[in-house]
């Protein structure tokens, strides 16, 4: 099928089998390898992406389910030259060891902060509970998300 959607802010159109997994489409068709496959069954969160701003697991989505939607991967949050505040905070606060869970974590944290711009430690832990990390014990990840929350401009409206 011809699939049209918005990917990291730009309109894209691609010919693909509708039953292809979204994660494979993103990684292999578009070379966006930030979304990782750690389990393939929705348990680890490493493949997290945003679909219209909501947190989704790209290993459980079919390519066709992206049609007409706005998809954001970790590559779309920021770049080496212009990282997002969360990505900067993850690097600065030592929240990254092997880094395999990191893109999914930053996506989940982005979704969390969009919903709750001023979380406490427990709220951060709750927000990241669907993303496994085997390296860090999560302490510095929580630190990084709170630091990023501090640095974000607050909407006082």
């Amino acid at each position: 099928m011809q699939l049209t959607f918005t990917l990291n802010g730009a309109p894209v159109s691609v010919e693909t089998a509708p039953g292809r997994r979204a994660i494979d489409l993103l990684r292999e068709e578009f070379g966006l390898t930030a979304a990782k496959e750690g389990c393939g069954s929705g348990e680890c969160g490493a493949c997290s992406i945003l679909v219209d701003g909501s947190l989704r697991l790209s290993c459980l989505l079919l390519a066709a389910q992206l049609a007409g939607h706005s998809v954001t991967t970790a590559e779309g949050l920021g770049t080496l030259e212009a990282p997002s505040p969360l990505q900067t905070a993850f690097a600065a606060h030592g929240a990254i060891q092997c880094g395999f869970c990191t893109p999914g974590m930053t996506i989940a944290a982005t979704a969390l902060l969009a919903e709750n711009p001023d979380p406490d430690r427990q709220a951060v832990r709750q927000g990241l509970a669907g993303n496994l990390c085997r390296c860090t014990g999560y302490v510095k990840i929580v630190d990084a998300v709170l630091a990023a929350a501090q640095s974000l401009p607050k909407d006082h409206a």
């Binding site: 930030a34 680890c44 990254i96 092997c98 395999f100 085997r134 302490v139």
Partner: protein
């Protein structure tokens, strides 16, 4: 000029060089390498623990459109045996399946869909054989044999470590405590699944990109198994998405190489699924350990005897070496005049035991610390004070009679955690337990050796390049599986050559252009490669001074100083930019090469003769850990409320890096204590994925605290010691003791389930002494 071995205060807070590329998703792991048009390889797993293959019909699989090759043991050109020390693991089994994860066939296909379809169509027929699923039962005379032709039956290794006369000393002790302890299989759950990409290259060579901890050794394992010249195999190891020991030794390597040999020069990719990784991947060894610990009335430890059985599974991997390290650590960080530790490592039809952070020490540390707690209880002593009283001090002989080095700071580690509010205020905190909850606090002291040990040279060679543009390229030989060694190397070299970190690039391990080094393991990586790197940096500094002196017309090169981007003459005020200097050098002249081998125990004790490779060890890091738990009386659920670890691991090169290792290790230790259970029954793991094998999530852990003490190891690069493993040992025994403190449960096996806690609470009500 900055001294080469001086750290400045800001060094402790340097951001990791790899952090930002990983944060923005730009870092390319092995699994991110998918060459266009590559083939896909996959293995058919046996799914039965012990059986003879009676029929293996490949016709249906070969008929699937898109299938390129369907291979069996008959297609393996070499010995068909892989293994690190003992070569006993078939790449593809011939006639006998020895565990559920054995590979019986290999398929290469154009697409993943064709691969899956073909694997489904392979239906091997088995004639079941009686299996052996327990390392103690494996030694009985009538036990089924895992390898009928193995001399020694199911005994892979039997060894003894002895000091003094422990049985006699034990008989004369005022007080003796004893117990039998069980620790389970543990899965690494590195997030990046085992994977790699390979193709045949010109002249019969192989080019591979693999998620591996040991690229240099992989060549020999593949070469042996497939009958290839190891020097014609190129292995590249990008940053790993976790390893923890589980990628030390071949995972996909031999299967993938075999697939590449049948791919007509095309790239082939192999990725194990999570379920396959549970089934076929290596595990921390399950162990059963019986200890008897004797002391005098005042609490002074006198004698320890131990008998342990490690479950190797069906293939050796490093099982004997792992058990040996556990035995060497069995006495903990304590002064014990008499010890006798006997170990049997047995073949079974369970999953394959292999390297996992803590390498045998996790098991024995748990047993020994439980005995310390039992002794404290028996003597009515404070468990912390009892440990402190018996803690090893510098220069004293350890449990196997090796004199400890300077920096044996067990007491300082214990003091640090005892001063922490979690321990200091524990009585008050326990009193504040909410209704229907119980609270308890436990403590443990730990040690972990660094390096391979005597008999197996722990070495690394390094190549350092001044690039044509005047920057530096470090050819890293030891994979970075997430511990941050690559970044540490940049930090060290930057300090040694007085350049900003941005001046350095790291080439990740590539057997074609990097020089050989041992694996990323054994708390050795940063110490051994770091020492080699500092030597190369010294050569580079002298070279730059000498070559610059020619251009600057300076008689004494040593008066020249390295400054950012240049070589500076303080007498004339002239600076020669490194870019200009580099342009002036021939290619060969831009490189410095050096190597380092870790010193070993010079006069090893006359014991442990069964262990030729890697015994004994000279350098140790030390630690202490306090854990606090809250137990729900209604559900039996245990919540880890606090975990504080103090470590003495030499000088701190990067405080954030040390905290990362300690927190991550503590999380894995907590997982072992409370969550992780493969539910192994007769060789089958009922836990098969991440919804049934539970590792801690962000909601399951407290803010794990780390106290890194000021310490110094004179032989270490910038005074550091390895510390990637020391943090994993504390949580299991400390949680166990905390649970005993809270509920009266005597914890003898891990993990501690809510059911065991509920049983303990019920038993306590009825006045009996519960144990799990």
């Amino acid at each position: 000029m900055t001294a080469i071995d001086a750290l400045s205060p800001e060094d402790a807070f340097v951001q990791r060089a790899d952090a930002l590329a990983k944060a923005v998703g730009r870092e390319q792991f092995s699994i991110d390498v998918t060459p266009p048009g590559c083939l896909w390889a996959g293995a058919k797993r046996a799914g039965v623990p012990h059986a003879a293959i009676t029929a293996l019909d490949m016709t249906a699989a070969r008929a699937v459109p898109g299938v390129v090759a369907v291979l069996t043991a008959a297609d393996v050109p070499g010995t068909n045996r892989q293994g690190i020390v003992h070569k006993d693991q078939p790449v593809l089994v011939e006639t006998c399946v020895r565990h559920c994860g054995d590979a019986v066939a290999l398929v290469v296909a154009e697409t993943r869909e064709a691969l899956t379809e073909a694997l489904d169509r392979i239906r091997p027929e088995f004639s079941p054989l009686p299996g052996v699923f327990d390392p103690v039962a494996a030694l009985l005379p009538d036990a089924p044999l895992v390898h009928p032709d193995h001399v020694g039956g199911n005994v892979l290794v039997h060894g003894l470590m002895e000091k003094g006369d422990a049985p006699a000393a034990l008989a004369g002790c005022d007080v003796v405590v004893e117990g039998e302890f069980s620790t389970p299989l543990q899965d690494h759950v590195f997030l990046e699944l085992p994977n790699g990409t390979a193709r045949t290259a010109a002249k019969g060579g192989l080019d591979m990109v693999v998620s591996t901890q040991a690229p240099f050794r992989d060549r020999f394992e593949i070469g042996q198994a497939l009958g290839l010249n190891p020097m014609h195999i190129r292995v590249r190891a990008p940053y790993l998405g976790g390893g923890f020991g589980g990628k030390d030794g071949a995972t996909v390597q031999c299967l993938l190489a075999l697939a590449a040999l049948h791919a007509g020069g095309r790239w082939v990719k192999m990725v194990w699924s999570r379920e396959e990784t549970f089934l076929a991947g290596y595990k921390r060894h399950a162990a059963r350990i019986r200890l008897r610990l004797g002391a005098s009335r005042d609490g002074t430890l006198v004698a320890l005897t131990g008998l342990m059985h490690f479950d190797a599974g069906p293939y050796a991997h490093l099982s004997g070496e792992i058990m040996a390290l556990g035995m060497e650590h069995a006495g903990g960080p304590y002064r014990i005049p008499h010890t006798r530790i006997e170990g049997f490592c047995a073949y079974t039809n369970n999953p394959i035991g292999g390297a996992f952070r803590g390498f045998g020490v996790v098991q024995t540390s748990f047993a020994m610390e439980r005995c310390l707690d039992a002794l404290a209880l028996r003597l009515g002593r404070d468990p912390a004070a009892l440990r402190r009283q018996n803690a090893l001090r510098p220069g004293e002989p350890n449990a196997i009679g090796v004199a400890t080095e300077t920096g044996t700071d067990v007491v300082a580690c214990l003091d640090a955690v005892m001063a922490h509010p979690v321990w200091a205020n524990r009585l008050e905190w326990k009193k504040q337990a909410p209704p229907l909850t119980r609270r308890g606090v436990g403590i443990a002291a730990t040690l972990n050796a660094m390096g391979y040990g005597r008999g197996l040279p722990d070495a690394a060679a390094v190549k350092l390049e001044l690039t044509p543009s005047g920057a530096f390229l470090i050819y890293n030989s030891v994979p970075d599986m997430g511990q941050g060694n690559a970044s540490a190397f940049v930090q060290m070299a930057a300090r040694a050559l007085n350049q900003p970190p941005e001046a350095f690039t790291v080439c990740q391990p590539d057997t074609r252009c990097c020089l050989p080094a041992g694996s990323s393991s054994a708390s050795r990586t940063t110490y051994t490669f770091g020492n080699a790197l500092l030597r190369a940096c010294r050569s580079m500094r002298e070279k730059l001074q000498a070559r610059a002196s020619l251009a600057l017309l300076v008689d004494d090169p040593s008066r020249l100083a390295l400054v950012t981007g240049g070589v500076y003459d303080p007498v004339t005020g002239q600076t020669l930019p490194l870019a200009r200097l580099a342009a002036f050098l021939s290619r060969d002249d831009r490189f410095c090469v050096d190597q380092f081998t870790m010193p070993v125990v010079e006069n090893p004790p006359e014991t442990g003769k069964a262990f030729k490779f890697g015994f004994p060890h000279r350098y140790y890091s030390y630690g202490a850990c306090v854990c606090a738990v809250e137990v729900d009386e209604l559900t039996g659920q245990t919540r880890l409320d606090a975990c504080v670890t103090a470590v003495a691991c030499g000088q701190v090169l990067n405080r954030q890096g040390v905290e990362q290792q300690i927190q991550g290790a503590a999380a894995q230790g907590a997982g072992l204590a409370l969550f992780e259970d493969t539910a192994l029954t007769a060789g089958h793991m009922r836990a098969q994925d991440l919804s049934t094998y539970l590792i801690p999530t962000a909601l399951d852990l407290p803010d794990l605290a780390c106290i890194a003490l000021d310490d110094n190891e004179p032989s270490g690069p910038f005074g550091l010691k390895g510390m990637g493993e020391i943090g994993i040992h504390g949580p299991s025994p400390a949680v166990a003791q905390a649970l005993a403190d809270a509920t009266g449960l005597t914890v003898r096996r891990l993990p501690v389930t809510p059911e065991a806690v509920l049983d303990a609470l019920a038993a306590q009500t009825s006045g009996t002494s519960p144990c799990n």
